[in-house]
């Protein structure tokens, strides 16, 4: 238990409770509509399993790409000072505020067959649009800002004092990055990666616009749910539950680990 501290104003609990109800009630409503007798059959059907497996694979791949590209982006934004940095940061975070379908259109006009780079890619025999690679690209595009923004915050909070100490001990910039910077912001990196994974798992608009809905190739779980909603509402509800469970399984351990780390070492 925490010490009592200064306490909170009592009225604060009312909007806090309302907010919690607003988030949880629709989930409960959804669960109440789950057809228990057919649940297992619905979520283990070949099309469902295919969609789930595709979602997990592409989300894992896009999270990896987000880490590989996003960590250097966050470090450059947090540790350097260049002209136009504020503008660069805003642009990097743009996918957060742009509707995903707009992101999908932007990707289509870049990597699609008639897109900016698509023609050149077509010439060398690479087709991106409407493939699983396109799914990963769409997910990466919308999820990358989540990782960059949370890691940049962690880097700024950590400060540069340890990095300076490491440099005066003779560590090269690469050594400092590997042995000091990254370990210090690991909790921020983990939570950023979890956010990116969750965002990728839920990605719908950009994916369906840029990658389409080919069963087994680009039809991820959210798209499958959207399509089933008309034909088989029971299946849509069952798959929604599945998606919620998967999301909870991913987020809960990671967020617990982050909290434990923050309490433990400071």
């Amino acid at each position: 238990m925490r010490p009592p501290g200064v306490g909170l104003p009592r009225w604060l609990y009312l909007p806090a409770g309302l907010g919690a109800v607003f988030v949880l009630l629709p989930l409960a409503a959804m669960v109440s509509r789950v057809d228990g007798t057919h649940l297992v059959a619905l979520i283990t059907s070949p099309s469902s399993r295919e969609a789930l497996w595709l979602s997990l694979r592409t989300s894992a791949a896009s999270t990896l790409v987000c880490v590989v590209l996003g960590v250097p982006m966050a470090v450059v934004l947090a540790r350097t000072d260049f002209r136009g940095q504020a503008a660069a940061r805003s642009l990097v975070l743009l996918p957060l505020v742009v509707p995903p379908v707009v992101s999908g259109i932007a990707l289509l006009y870049t990597f699609g067959r008639r897109g900016l780079l698509g023609h050149a890619l077509h010439v060398v025999g690479v087709e991106v649009a409407f493939t699983s690679v396109a799914v990963v690209m769409a997910q990466t595009f919308v999820a990358l800002p989540f990782l960059v923004i949370s890691l940049e915050g962690a880097l700024r909070t950590a400060g540069q004092r340890y990095e300076v100490a490491a440099a005066t001990l003779g560590a090269s910039p690469s050594t400092v990055f590997r042995r000091v910077t990254l370990p210090l912001v690991l909790p921020g990196l983990v939570s950023g990666a979890v956010l990116a994974f969750a965002r990728s798992l839920g990605e719908f608009g950009a994916t369906i616009t840029f990658a389409g809905s080919l069963a087994g190739t680009t039809r991820t779980l959210p798209i499958q749910i959207y399509l089933e909603r008309f034909d088989d509402p029971d299946a849509a509800v069952a798959l929604s539950l599945l998606l919620v469970v998967v999301a909870v399984l991913v987020i809960a351990p990671a967020s617990r680990a982050t909290v434990r780390h923050r309490r433990g070492t400071r």
């Binding site: 001990l169 042995r179 370990p183």
Partner: protein
């Protein structure tokens, strides 16, 4: 042979300092807050770029106005600050092994070196602890070991005892006294005791300029700057020698001329100890030739005495009196008093320029 030759200006902070640290020499850099001490350390460590000047270490140019700048990790200069800054994700042993590892020493050998250093600083049994499991004094010992394990050509110490408990500071000071022998060290400190026990030479900076540079005992017993006098616990009045006393308008302080004797109209300082100053409420009559009207600014208990800080026509003068005298005279901040100093208690000497400047 590693000699530090430092002459650099940092324009934005108006700090322009020249100093040297000889091979195996420990130099204390003293000065009030904002005097430019940290700026000097920053330039040497490569964290700040000077606008003019040159810094060389062991003949190698670290930074100069025209040449390339050596990156901090290639300078062979370790920095130990008041915050030990041990890496929180590494054990004490791994922290100490960090420097050797960064220089390409293999892991087992780096760890062996780290163990030797942990033993040397007296915390051999704490190697497996994480920094948050160490007390402040233990953490600073590990930080000392870490800095020395990197085997730097020059060690920079930035108030290494300032954040420590008063009960712990003496043992860390003693440790530094042992391990700094034969090393080139630049030590920034506020504490005269650090300078006395650790430093061979003292450089005093004030307002971004060197105001004194000399052997520790000489600077602290015969201060020429107000700051050096303050940390030495002495009163100092700077002015010009008028043939019979130091004129520092509107005061004139008379005393015994010392070495070097001042020439007429030359800058001179009058130095006297606080316990040589008597405090009266009314103007007394008697032999003292130095009587100053002053206003009490502050009282500070010092064991069996009380230090009365006063301001006399813009000069800060301190007097030591007994607690009974404080009560009898009704002393408190704002009280007007008369300070008396016998001329035989005052030493006057020429305030010659610091040797480091005149030598060049």
């Amino acid at each position: 042979m590693t000699t530090l030759e430092y002459y650099a200006t940092v324009g934005a902070r108006d700090v322009s300092v020249r100093l040297t640290v000889g091979p195996g020499e420990t130099v204390a850099l003293l000065g009030p807050n904002g005097a430019g001490k940290s700026t000097v350390l920053g330039v040497i460590a490569g964290l700040l770029a000077p606008t003019a000047g040159q810094v060389t270490l062991g003949g190698r140019t670290l930074v100069s106005a025209t040449g390339p700048v050596v990156a901090p990790h290639r300078r062979d200069v370790a920095l130990l600050a008041q915050d030990p800054l041990l890496f929180p994700h590494l054990t004490a042993l791994e922290n100490v092994a960090f420097g050797p590892r960064a220089r390409g020493v293999r892991r087992p050998q780096a760890r062996a070196t780290a163990r030797l250093w942990l033993d040397r600083v007296g915390v051999a049994d704490l190697g497996d602890r994480r920094p948050h499991q160490l007390s402040g004094g233990q953490a600073q010992r590990v930080a000392v070991a870490r800095a020395l394990a990197a085997d730097p050509a020059l060690l920079l110490l930035d108030e290494p005892m300032a954040a420590l408990d008063v009960a712990v500071a003496p043992s860390v000071r003693q440790l530094l006294r042992e391990v700094l022998v034969d090393r080139s060290v630049l030590l920034v400190t506020h504490e005269p005791l650090d300078a006395l026990l650790l430093a061979d030479r003292v450089v005093v900076v004030d307002g971004g300029r060197v105001v004194e540079d000399g052997p520790t005992t000489e600077v602290l017993t015969r201060p020429r700057s107000v700051f050096a006098a303050r940390i030495a616990g002495l009163n100092l009045v700077a002015g010009t020698w008028d043939g019979s006393g130091v004129a520092a308008a509107p005061l004139v302080v008379r005393g015994m001329t010392g070495d070097p004797a001042p020439a007429r109209a030359e800058e001179a300082v009058a130095v006297f100890a606080p316990n040589a100053v008597s405090v009266f409420r009314d103007t007394p009559t008697g032999s003292p030739r130095n009587a100053f009207s002053a206003v009490v600014t502050d009282l500070e208990p010092l064991g069996d005495r009380v230090r009365v800080r006063t301001e006399a026509s813009g000069h800060r003068l301190a007097a030591d009196v007994t607690p009974a005298a404080v009560a009898d005279l009704g002393l408190g901040p704002g009280a007007t008093v008369q300070l008396m100093v016998k001329a035989t208690e005052v030493t006057i000497y020429a305030a010659s320029r610091p040797t480091a400047f005149s030598a060049r």
